[in-house]
Amino acid sequence: MKKRILLIEDDREIIDIYTISLQDIAKFKVEAIRYGFEALEWIKKVKKGKAKKPDLVLLDLILPDMNGLDILKEMKKVKETKNIPVFILTNYSSSQLRALGFKLGSEEYLTKTKYPPSKLIALIKERLKEK
């Protein structure tokens, strides 16, 4: 069965790049959410069993309506989503944000320029293999 990746990212080009990479090359099933409120609604749906849980979430930090860390917090509050592995995928290489991300429960804090799709795919596969 194909692994499901949820991409929470607002930039269309990034969505495009990562969707093509992850779907076409890595053969993952990719779903993208562009807004924070949509992500929160998704969490509620998963909680109610109205949406499928992904195998991994790629989370951007800056969304148009909220920051990704709040979404991470919400995910960790809900029983159905708290164990889903989260990789923060961001342009911000702040040590503080990184530490905060880990503290809130993300498993990786990846800078987009350092983790082009090919590198990211290897990392995801490694992680999902363990799972």
Binding site: E13, Q96, A99, T113, P117
Partner: protein
């Protein structure tokens, strides 16, 4: 009853009143006792004289003659003793006193024999006049001698006496001369010289003079007693007079009320009006005769106590001036205080004087210096004597000027106030409303008061200074508090500004990162996809080649941007590292080695890692530390053409050391010093070897290692001899 009897009776009565009054005024004072004894002698002589004058038989006449002589015998010795005691010269003239007492006691005992007063016989208008016995003659000589000596003594004392004493002595002398001369007219008839004792009435005059001296010059200081006695007599007389008037009216109206009603009514009414009469007469005496019915010693004594409880300077000087002026019934008073530093006087309180007059006394420093030297009050009446006694011409002139000035401004007394032997001010007093001069007692009392006033004024001064100081202190505290508050506000503002700036910096950094990385991510991402054939296979080899170069350039651009972003973080003072505890170092190194191995292999050089079996975990920011070590090892690979790079891990007690040893181009001595500077200039060979290098990587590495509280340095034996880079990280932080 003849003239001589009446005068004798008057003498007797006045002496009888005067003596007890003086004695009761101060029973302990010997001078008062002596004056009372003298008055007793005069009284005995006077009453006996009266009784002798009205005697109808020879027996009683002789008897009373002897009695009157008993009184007369002691008059001169008691009087001399009183004078000597009064001027405090008893010890000096002791021999006169001892001899006098002895001889007059002898005469007293002989008085009751015919040796002294032989008998009586009619002479001139007198039925019974005494005839002298044999001892009478020496007695008379001694009596006259002592009387003359007393006059001589009084004259001598008058010459040197000053102030009130001088005035008193003057009147005593006049009274004594009048009394002695008048009294001596009694002795002519003893020797059958036909001169009647016309001067007998002068004894009364003598008593009147003494009384006058008492009243005006406070002789024996029984003014208050006399005044009170007079007021009581008048009050009593008024009540009795009123009672008699009522009784008279009742009688006139044919006794409408029986005596047993009138008498109690009159008594009751008399008791009722006695006190109001007393108050009325006291008031009249006070207003018209400036009598004070309270000893002003007592009031001034009370003032001394009050002074200690008043600390406010204005109130204190007012209290002093007001009390003095009311109690001593003065027309003017003034209190001046002197500034210790400048010596200038300031008027604190002035009543009656004009301000410029008060200051005129102290305009030149003469009075201050004079008071400082003499240390006693300057009394206007005594200045004449002082001027007479001074030899120095300049001082004489100055004193004369002072005297003239005091006269002009009507100041009668300048009382100095001392503080620690220095003049701190003075109290200037005008004349007494009664016209009396200041007595010795007044001056003594004022001097005692001035001592207390000095202390009180000093305390008030200190209190004012403390008040001033505390107000100033409070002001300074307020100012300081305000300054601190302002400084705090400034700091708060600055801190807010810094926070804002910090926030702005953070936002700037984040925004910069985002805006730079986003397009680069897209570029890199799409290139990757294109090269992977996600958008179709690339048939044209040249296109593919160019795309690969494009990807390489993009990668370089990403690296440059990363370096710039990293430097920017350090430059902006951002907190670059975020520590985690128990970070294992091997995975970091293994990752780096893994990432750089392809590059090393491509160059045909080795890259190896040597590590001990056990490695401690450290407190580190893993990604940043990886970046730093990566830069070092990457550098080593770049600048090595043959041989290779060995990464070695060593552990000491407190440090973990990472050595990166290469067999590369080496570093010159001068370049080693500046290796980790931001603007490090790479050597020519280094530039040729790695043309795109900017020398920033080492700078970033050093900043990261420093942020880890570690050390980083390099050693090289010189160009072409390879180099070793050391990173030392503390194990226990």
């Amino acid at each position: 009853m003849g003239f001589y009897a009446i005068t004798a009776l008057i003498n007797g009565i006045t002496s009888s009143i005067l003596g007890p009054l003086v004695y009761l005024k101060n029973r302990k004072r010997f001078t008062n006792k002596l004056f009372a004894l003298f008055c007793l002698s005069v009284a005995i002589w006077s009453y006996a004289y009266f009784l002798w004058q009205i005697s109808s038989t020879e027996f009683f006449a002789l008897f009373w003659c002897r009695v009157l002589m008993a009184g007369a015998i002691f008059i001169p010795i008691f009087y001399l003793h009183f004078i000597l005691s009064w001027v405090q010269k008893t010890k000096e003239k002791k021999k006169y006193l001892i001899f006098g007492y002895l001889i007059f006691i002898f005469f007293f005992f002989s008085n009751f024999t015919s040796l002294f007063v032989n008998n009586v016989s009619p002479k001139l208008v007198f039925s019974f006049w005494p005839n002298p016995g044999i001892l009478y003659h020496p007695f008379l000589v001694l009596w006259i001698f002592y009387a003359v000596y007393i006059i001589y003594f009084l004259i001598k004392e008058l010459r040197t006496a000053i102030g009130i004493l001088r005035s008193q002595l003057r009147y005593i002398l006049i009274g004594t001369i009048v009394g002695v001369v008048g009294g001596m007219t009694n002795y002519f008839l003893w020797y059958d010289i036909p001169i009647p004792p016309l001067g007998n009435w002068t004894s009364t005059f003598y008593v009147a003079i003494i009384s006058y001296a008492i009243v005006k010059y406070r002789l024996m200081d029984i003014r208050v007693a006399i005044g009170k006695t007079a007021v009581y007599i008048f009050s009593f007389a008024t009540v009795v007079g009123f009672g008699l008037l009522l009784a008279f009216l009742n009688n006139l109206l044919a006794n409408p009320f029986p005596y047993y009603i009138v008498f109690p009514f009159v008594t009751f009414f008399g008791a009722l009006i006695f006190k109001p009469c007393l108050k009325l007469y006291e008031k009249l005496a006070s207003r018209y005769f400036y009598y004070t019915f309270y000893s002003h010693q007592k009031v001034l004594g009370e003032l001394g106590e009050k002074l200690t409880s008043v600390l406010e300077l204005g109130k204190l000087t007012s209290l002093i001036a007001d009390t003095l002026i009311k109690t001593m019934k003065l027309d003017k008073t003034g209190v001046l205080l002197r500034e210790p530093k400048t010596g200038d006087y300031r008027i604190q309180k002035i009543i009656g004087f004009k301000e410029e007059n008060g200051i005129s006394l102290v305009r030149d420093n003469f009075l201050t210096a004079y008071l400082q030297r003499t240390r006693k009050p300057v009394v206007y009446e005594e200045l004449g004597l002082a001027i007479r006694d001074i030899k120095d011409k300049t001082e004489k002139e100055k004193l004369e000027d002072l005297r003239a000035n005091m006269k002009r401004i009507e100041a009668k007394l300048c009382l100095p106030l001392f503080r620690e032997n220095e003049i701190m001010g003075m109290i200037v007093l005008g004349r007494k409303l009664s016209g009396e001069p200041y007595s010795k007692q007044d001056i003594q009392l004022l001097t005692a008061l001035s001592n207390q006033a000095s202390i009180a004024l000093e305390n008030a001064n200190l209190y004012a200074q403390v008040q001033d100081l505390s107000q100033n202190l409070q002001k300074k505290v307020d100012e300081q508090t305000e300054e601190i508050r302002r400084a705090y506000e400034v700091e708060k503002k600055a801190r807010k500004e810094l926070e804002r700036l910090d926030k702005a910096k953070s936002q700037f950094m984040l925004a910069t990162q985002h805006h730079l990385r986003t397009p680069l991510t897209s570029m890199q991402g799409y290139l990757d996809l294109i090269l992977q054939g996600s958008f179709g296979k690339i048939i044209n080899k040249k296109v593919k080649e160019k795309l690969i170069r494009f990807k390489t350039s993009t990668k370089n651009l990403i690296n440059i941007v990363e370096e710039i972003l990293n430097i920017s973080q350090f430059q902006l003072g951002r907190k670059v590292v975020s520590f985690e505890s128990n970070v294992p170092i091997e995975p970091i190194l293994e990752e780096i080695i893994s990432e750089l191995m392809p590059e090393a292999e491509k160059k045909g050089i080795y890259l190896k890692l040597e590590k001990p079996e056990k490695l401690p975990k450290i407190r580190a920011d893993a990604p940043k530390l990886k970046m730093a070590i990566f830069n070092i090892i990457d550098n080593a690979i770049k600048y090595t053409e043959k041989g290779g790079v060995t990464v070695k891990l060593e552990v000491t007690d407190s440090n973990l050391r990472i050595l990166t040893k290469d067999t590369g181009i080496g570093i010159g001595k001068e370049q080693v010093k500046n290796l980790f500077d931001k603007l490090f200039e790479r050597g020519e060979k280094a530039q040729k070897l790695f043309t795109t290098g900017r020398g920033i990587g080492l700078f970033i590495a050093s900043k990261i290692i420093q942020a880890h509280h570690g050390k980083i340095w390099a050693e090289s034996e010189g160009p072409g001899k390879g180099s070793t880079f050391y990173i030392e990280l503390p194990i226990n932080q």
